[in-house]
Amino acid sequence: MKWITCALCVSLLAVGLGGRASAADPPPIDHHDMSGMHNMPALDTTPGDSLYQLDFSLEPVGNAPVRFASLRGEPLLVTMFYSHCTSVCPLVTTQLQHMVAALAPADRRRLRILMLSFDTVRDTPQALAAFMAEHHIRDPNWLIARAKPGDVRALAAALGIQYRELPDHSFNHSALITLLDAQGVPRARTQTITAQDPEFLSSVRALLAAESPKPIDKTP
């Protein structure tokens, strides 16, 4: 029996690189939840520098979970925040709202906004719903979302956003809004959140114009 167990143990250790840890111990609970980690490159036509190379599940408030990569197809403004933030995050939200309001209605309908929370513990769907209500976010193009800790870390890393939880559960983080094109490639970014950033806004407009839907080809 011992040998059988041992053989099992050896095969576990030998299969791939798995199980180098003590395979005999019961799986412990890990506070670093990596189960959502899927940073395997997608095997399709996604450009190499597209953020949609990251394949993970988003939980937008009021919607069923979606794959991050399913946002491909239209330009996206993406930022990260946490709902208990009292200083910068409300400004980021307001900045996004001003940008969207400055667009032509047809453009506004096509641009999606993703705000992903850093706070995987306290930003429950209820907390995020309250945040949306507080900021009068009703447009279905706005996704206020949560994701698993490992995925939040990976998206932040890919966007170049630094963040760190403090002992009082607030977060230090860089305030950055990134514009992705329809393929998920970053086209512009801004850290200006206390004033207009006309340059960034013209990048958004230019991208929406460049990626405007093509007339349907009626050639048989």
């Binding site: 050896v10 798995g18 005999a24 940073n39 890393a157």
Partner: protein
């Protein structure tokens, strides 16, 4: 325990001795250099297991052979820069200039993470790494030992062009872990949390409000130069960056005691 020893013996007979084992560390209260201010309580670090050795070229080669999407030239540019594994002779060959038992370097954070996931673990976070790296051969926390500090700092004066030594030559610390100092820099899971500073691609206007939260963190233990060097280095990286002396090792949650 006896069983595990047998398993390791079998593995060794099978020629896989080089496969790193993971050693338990903690739980512990860590006086972290990243504490947000003097008088802050120590950080609680849960028990975890850490690879005894950094991941080697040989181990990483096996990984890219079974995960070809992580081979040089296949990994998307989002996940790896141009320098990724550039010291290897080919996408799945080390070549004569690269030894299998040298630590693998020129790997991005994304690649290191994918490796650890495939190896049934994850990257250690900074505080786990800091706790492990505080130990010398004799002390669990040797950070105040001048002789030990001196020895670590010596490493920084080595020329960077010197070929990397093979893993396992450093003395085991009190946990049995080797080469945390003196061989390579190592990725941590939360490398992008260490110093929250402005986006390096867009600096210059100090009036821009860049942060949410309590502002700058005050580094404690400023005299611990070797650790602060690590933090400065890691926080300067992008997730796709690779560097000649930047490698990694994996960790996993530890069974509770």
């Amino acid at each position: 325990m006896k069983m595990r020893a047998w398993c390791w013996l079998l593995l060794c007979l099978a020629g896989a001795c080089a496969a790193a084992e993971r050693l338990p560390i903690g739980p512990a209260e860590l006086d972290s250099v990243l504490s947000t201010g003097a008088g802050q309580p120590p950080v609680h670090v849960n028990r975890f297991v850490l690879d005894r050795l950094p991941v080697t070229n040989g181990e990483f080669l096996l990984f890219v052979r079974t995960h070809p999407q992580w081979q040089r030239g296949h990994a998307p540019t989002l996940f790896a820069d141009d320098d990724y594994l550039s010291h290897w002779a080919g996408p799945d060959a080390l070549g004569a200039a690269t030894q299998a038992d040298q630590p693998v370097t020129r790997v991005s954070w994304f690649a290191a993470r994918a490796y650890c996931e495939a190896a049934g673990g994850r990257l250690p976070d900074w505080q786990e790494w800091e706790l492990a790296a505080a130990a010398s051969e004799h002390l669990e926390d040797a950070r105040k030992d001048p002789a030990w500090r001196e020895r670590i700092l010596d490493w920084y004066s080595q020329p960077a062009s010197k070929p990397l030594a093979r893993v396992g030559l450093g003395p085991p610390d009190t946990h049995g872990v080797q080469d945390l100092h003196g061989l390579v820099w190592e990725w941590v899971e939360d490398f992008n949390s260490l110093i929250v500073s402005g986006d390096s691609r867009n600096q210059g206007d100090p009036d821009k409000l860049k942060f949410c939260g309590a502002g700058a963190l005050s580094l404690q233990g400023r005299d611990n130069f070797a650790i602060l060097m690590r933090i400065a280095f890691l926080s300067s990286l992008e997730a796709r960056s690779s560097a000649r002396s930047l490698g990694f090792r994996c960790a996993a949650a530890g069974a509770s005691r």
